[in-house]
Amino acid sequence: MWKGEAMTCSRVQEILPDYAVELLDRRLQAAVDAHLAICAGCRRELEAQERALELVTTLGGRTPAAGLFHAVRNEIESGRARQERPGWLAWFNFLPVRVAATGLAMASVALALLAPIGGPLLPPVPDLHPGPRVQGGQVARGPLAHSIRQHARSAADGPLADRVAWEAMAQLAESEEDRERRELSQPRREGVRPRSDAR
């Protein structure tokens, strides 16, 4: 601080505790004296501090109970010292909340165990080979068998085609074609009209 500088209230109140016990140097002491002479607010602050100091002096120091330090240390080291609980935990004092939380945990475990992984929920895979079943007697004959055979051979060349199944389809159709061919080698049936008549 410069010599002769005017003291502000905030600066004086900052150093009042040291002033009260005469710890300031002479120049600073004089500057505070000069300020207190003209500032009633700082004088009241000084008086309050002096009263507090008198009280401490009057009552004197208190000696802690014997063993208090060790008791605190033992409590900390044993891990029994409790932390303050967050308020939301109080919800768990209510039975419905406990039941709901238990249900949620059990449902989560069940879901994790049973739910399908890696895609949308899928329909159950039907039984693969339930045994022979003919669908309403639908059979490709003659001309249709001829076409299905060609289609099956073509489909059999697909990259992920059921090669053996499509070939079987083609062969079944071909067997049907052969049967038709044998029938046609019999005397011509009635009712087969030239195409021009059919249209």
């Binding site: 945990a105 475990v109 890696g118 895609g119 895979v125 076409s147 992920l160």
Partner: protein, 337 residues
């Protein structure tokens, strides 16, 4: 129960649930295992180059269950011997370029050439991935082997979808189910037993060709033309203007136009247009030739089949065959112009 014990139990339950979920997701997610699409690619490329022999059980469209013995080589050869009625005795030999078929009933051996194009395969692969969502749906044992189950579901539309079971080690497809959108299995193939053949013990090339005695009965299979034509050439050969559908089922594109024979009694040509969505194939047959002798024997005739729809429009007989709802096959024909 004190509040502290109760809270610990609830927390443990939730943590256990999270742990179980993470474990299961980790076991089946594409991130933890080889990428599912890569696995499918292996299944359609590498698995055809594995030497094995095994027995298969096949359920076809009409519900019949058939049995066959299968032999394959590392060169992509295949032999199928059907062992149950009504196909018992029928044998198919296939090399990368040819397919031979022998029927003991007709005592006829036919041969057709095969289309093999890596470019085409790559295009079809892209189309499949674009049109189908591929994801792993589990792991099961098939024919004593650990197999990864993969679903291929259409990203849109209601066409047939597929589940395939891929051998975890060899990528061979051990089981394959084609299902309708409603979950009805329309076609299914599965190995009931399989044995991989170590190098040195696999059969030689002769196992994948008919014997010399059968070769004397060889005829070309006229019903399975494989030459792809452009439309003007197909129109010329078929003798009428082939109609192209204006509305295709979602994801399908034209993959080939072929000359075929009309099934009526008079020998003449007809047309077959082939469409694919990468997984399934759709054929549209049509005949408008004035040489056709009988409507009853053209594409509009011949019993019933669940996957076939036919119609006559403007003097042309159509037949659509494919794994699609009948309404979509019908729409395909209606939009043909």
């Amino acid at each position: 129960m004190t509040r502290k014990v109760f809270l610990a139990a609830v927390s443990a339950g939730l943590v256990a649930a999270a742990g179980i979920w993470a474990f299961r997701a980790g076991r089946s997610s594409p991130g933890a295992e080889p990428d599912t699409e890569s696995l499918v690619r292996r299944a359609w490329v590498d698995s055809k180059l594995v030497a094995l022999e095994g027995d298969q059980e096949i359920q076809v469209e009409d519900g019949r269950v058939l049995r066959a013995h299968v032999l394959t080589s590392r060169q992509g050869d295949l032999r199928i011997e059907y062992r149950s009625a009504p196909l018992a005795g029928i044998t198919v030999w296939e090399t990368p370029t040819r397919t031979y078929r022998y029927s003991p009933r007709s005592q006829r051996l036919t041969v057709t050439e095969r289309l093999a194009s890596p470019t085409e395969d790559a295009g079809r692969e892209l189309q499949l991935i674009r049109n189908y969502a591929v994801h792993r749906s589990g792991e099961e044992e098939v024919a004593g082997r650990t197999a990864i189950r993969v679903d291929l579901r259409p990203r849109s539309g209601k066409g047939t979808w597929k589940q395939i079971w891929i051998d975890r080690e060899t990528a061979v497809i051990l089981r394959s189910d084609a299902q309708t959108a409603r979950g009805r299995i329309v076609r299914s193939t599965r190995f009931t037993q399989v044995r991989y053949l170590p190098a040195g013990s696999e059969p030689d090339a002769a196992a994948f060709m008919p014997g010399p005695a059968l070769m004397k009965q060889l005829v070309r299979d006229s019903g399975s033309a494989i030459e792809r034509l452009d439309l003007p050439e197909l129109n010329r050969r078929a003798g009428f203007a082939v109609r192209l559908p204006a509305q295709l089922p979602r994801g399908y594109t034209l993959s080939g136009a072929y000359e075929t024979s009309c099934p009526c009694r008079t020998p003449h040509s007809a047309a077959r247009l082939e469409f694919t969505d990468g997984l399934n194939t759709l054929s549209l047959f049509q005949c408008g030739s004035p040489r056709c002798t009988s409507a009853e024997n053209c594409f509009a005739a011949g019993g019933e089949a669940p996957q076939a729809v036919r119609a006559e429009r403007d003097g042309i007989y159509f037949l659509a065959v494919g794994d699609l709802p009948r309404a979509e096959l019908d729409q395909l024909i209606r939009s043909a112009k």
